[in-house]
């Protein structure tokens, strides 16, 4: 145990101290922040501030109605476009200064076009009776149509036209407002005893967790493999084996590198939290639905660790079989395969998380980090299944480390070439 601890320390410190680790760990959040912040800033620049509009309409009442819809804000807007959320989420609120004109002559049109070109007005809306009859309303502006604004305009026009029609039909305005209030549809996940969050959220959550798991396992599993190969190629292995066992060596390596990965993820999570707190406050409405249950977080942590241990011990086994990075590249597929298959199967499990098939698939140790996690996030499977699944994974991890240690030890005695499968079987048989 003392030896494993020493090995973990070395593996950890040597990696964390490298310049590339520090740079990558710090640069990643910066890059992510850049990806998130820059478009937001750009969006703000486009949408913010005062928009000067001219509405050209034969019917001044309709023009005033549209102007009212636009200035009154979105409370009565029937828009369910994403554009609405976008302009709410990012950017300053847009204010409108609107003039209603009833001159629909071509001369007026030319004059307005010129004003747009000169930048005196942001744009004008050609809302003539002809346009309404043909169901095609033109909005002329110098700027490339921006998603948020054109959707605002569209819904304002639509609402104003509908309102006017309804009023003409003799409906009072209170009834009209109530009629036009949009109905929101929300999917609610039913969990035992309590009301859960929406199905889409679970899917999104599961997917991002699985992706993180996949990325980290891949990056750090490979690191384990490369480190094993390095120890063989620098010939330090035998020096180490005179004081530690191959199993201790592998365990120290897997745990040490795993700790490096955790450190990195932790740093990123802290950064992400710091960066996103203001954003979260602003975008409460949207992210409110991204709520991750505590159980889910815990399950993620557990399966994340187990998944890493399982796959990195597989990578360690591959590393102990080969002598160079190139050979390792060719040998990687046995480690990659299960994780990819699990990702393919994920959808089926999400749709029928309590089916027999889902149960059997999710307790297979190589699939479990992804499929059991998904099942836990969607519906809570019986406790015994989770316990069984975790026990199977632990047993597999132990078995794999033992196996790799054997290959490792015999592998150093036979330099030069990669073992064939029958040779490998014989290696494993050598008792010591």
């Amino acid at each position: 145990m003392h030896n494993v601890w020493t090995l973990i320390q070395r593996e950890y410190l040597e990696r964390v101290r490298t310049r590339s680790f520090v740079i990558f760990t710090l640069l990643m959040p910066a890059a992510m922040a850049g990806i998130i912040i820059v478009p937001t800033k750009i969006a703000e620049m486009n949408t913010g501030g005062e928009h000067r509009l001219v509405i050209v309409a034969n019917d001044p009442k309709l023009g005033a109605g549209v102007a009212q819809e636009l200035t009154a804000g979105k409370s009565t807007s029937s828009s369910d476009d994403i554009g609405e959320q976008q302009s709410q989420q990012f950017g300053k609120p847009v204010t409108y200064a609107i003039a209603v004109v009833s001159d629909t002559s071509d001369a007026e049109r030319d004059r307005l076009n010129k004003e747009v070109m000169d930048g005196k007005i942001t744009g004008f809306l050609w809302l003539t009776n002809d346009a309404l009859a043909s169901h095609q309303v033109l909005y002329s502006t110098k700027e490339a149509a921006d998603f948020g604004q054109s959707s605002d305009l569209r819904s304002a026009v639509r609402t104003a036209v509908t309102k006017e029609h309804l009023q003409q039909e003799g409906m009072n305005s209170a009834d009209i407002d109530s009629l036009l209030t949009p109905i929101r549809l929300e999917t609610v996940r039913v969990e035992k005893g309590k009301k859960g969050t929406s199905g889409v959220t679970v899917f999104l959550t599961a997917f991002s967790m699985v992706f993180l798991l996949y990325a980290v396992v891949l990056v750090y599993g490979m690191a384990v493999m490369r480190s094993v190969i390095e120890e063989k190629s620098t010939r330090i292995l035998e020096v180490l084996l005179s004081s530690v066992t191959a199993k201790e060596l592998l365990a120290g390596k897997i745990l040490g590198i795993g700790a490096v990965g955790l450190t990195q993820v932790l740093v990123w999570v802290i950064f992400a939290t710091l960066f996103s707190v203001p954003g979260l406050m602003a975008a409460k409405s949207f992210l409110g639905t991204m709520h991750i249950p505590v159980v889910g977080m815990f399950a993620f942590a557990v399966f994340f660790l187990l998944g890493y241990l399982l796959y990195s011990s597989m990578y360690a086994a591959i590393g102990s079989m080969v002598n160079t990075d190139q050979e390792a590249q060719q040998m990687q597929w046995p480690a990659m395969m299960p994780i990819l298959i699990a990702i393919f199967l994920m959808n089926a499990v999400i749709q029928h998380p309590d089916s027999t098939l889902a149960f059997w698939l999710s307790i297979i140790p190589f699939f479990a980090p992804i499929l059991m996690l998904v099942r836990i996030l969607i519906e809570q499977p019986p406790m015994w299944q989770i316990v069984l699944c975790i026990s199977l994974m632990l047993a597999t991890i132990y078995g794999l480390v033992t196996l790799s240690a054997r290959i490792y030890r015999v592998g150093i005695l036979m330099y030069g070439k990669r073992p064939t499968l029958p040779e490998l079987r014989r290696w494993l048989r050598y008792a010591g």
Partner: protein
């Protein structure tokens, strides 16, 4: 005196290839022991079983009078033939790391590492990375790592291979000092001439079997002084000479094994007729000759 190492009929086979075949030997505490044999004779396999890197298929390994267990490894320093260091690590960190693996407390490991580096003129290099060191310096680091925990038994597999002459001398001096302080040293090499002068006892192995084992002086004297070393110019014409059983000619130096009962003076007179003899000495056979002789017998 107790035995630092005792092997009782150990055997190790890989597939059909038998690397070590029922080998038994004893290494007395405080002695310098040579495990000798050609490449592929099973020397490294034997050592690996001694220190638990592999387990023998049959037989028993005993260290310091006890059956092998890993706790004893802290009393052993092993310098393998295939040796390396982590290139990116700082010298001092590396030494401390290896010391700690032998259960030295960190502070003690650091203190001893600095002392050793000071002694081997590596003081200015302790905070450099291993890869910045020359090969010779890296070899010194490896010696230090082997000896850091002050082992009672030092095992060195082909220690002189790849060593520059000054480091060879350095290593030899360090080892002699260890011997004086009562440590046991085991050499494994195929370069017989190098260890001949250092070893008290030897074991010659070939094809995994011991073909000669015991006290070096006794082995040599059992061969008697029927060997001649001769330095010459010209051609002493030993070919077909009735006095000569075998000879090993190096061009202007030759080692001759006489037939039993032959008179060395007669050989001298004969050789002097044909060549200028600058040195003529009656000696015990060199280890190499003994080895060739023994292997010949077994073949």
């Amino acid at each position: 005196m107790a035995d630092a190492v005792e092997l009782r009929g150990i055997r190790k086979a890989y597939d059909r290839f038998v690397a070590v075949d029922h080998l038994s030997l004893k290494i007395h505490e405080g002695s310098v022991y040579g495990l000798l044999g050609p490449n592929g004779a099973g020397k490294t396999s034997t050592i690996r079983m001694m220190i638990g890197i592999t387990m023998p298929d049959e037989g028993e390994v005993r260290l310091f009078g006890e059956p092998f267990h890993r706790g004893l490894l802290d009393r052993i320093g092993y310098l393998p033939e295939e040796r390396g260091l982590y290139k990116k690590m700082k010298v001092i960190d590396h030494l401390v790391f290896l010391g700690r693996l032998h259960n030295l407390p960190e502070r003690e490991a650091r203190k001893r590492s600095l002392e050793w580096c000071d002694r081997l003129q590596l003081k200015e290099w302790t905070s450099k990375k291993v890869e910045e060191l020359s090969k010779g310096m890296q070899q010194k680091i490896q010696f230090i790592a082997t000896l850091l925990h002050n082992p009672d038994l030092v095992i060195m597999d082909e220690p002189f291979s790849g060593l520059d002459p000054s480091n060879s001398v350095l290593l030899k001096d360090v080892l002699l000092e260890l011997k004086k302080s009562g440590k046991t040293i085991l050499f494994s090499t195929h370069r017989m001439d190098q260890v001949e002068r250092l070893c008290d006892s030897i074991c010659l192995i070939d094809h995994g079997r011991a073909i000669l084992e015991g006290d070096l002086k006794k082995i040599k004297s059992s061969y008697g002084k029927n060997h001649v070393q001769m330095q010459y110019e010209g051609d002493p014409q030993l070919e077909g000479c009735a006095l000569v059983q075998s000879f090993n000619n190096y061009g202007n130096y030759v080692e001759v094994q006489l037939v039993p009962g032959a008179d060395a003076q007669q050989l001298l007179r004969m050789a002097a007729e044909n060549a200028r003899i600058s040195r003529f000495e009656l000696v015990e056979p060199s280890l190499e000759e003994i080895f060739i002789d023994q292997v010949g017998k077994n073949a």
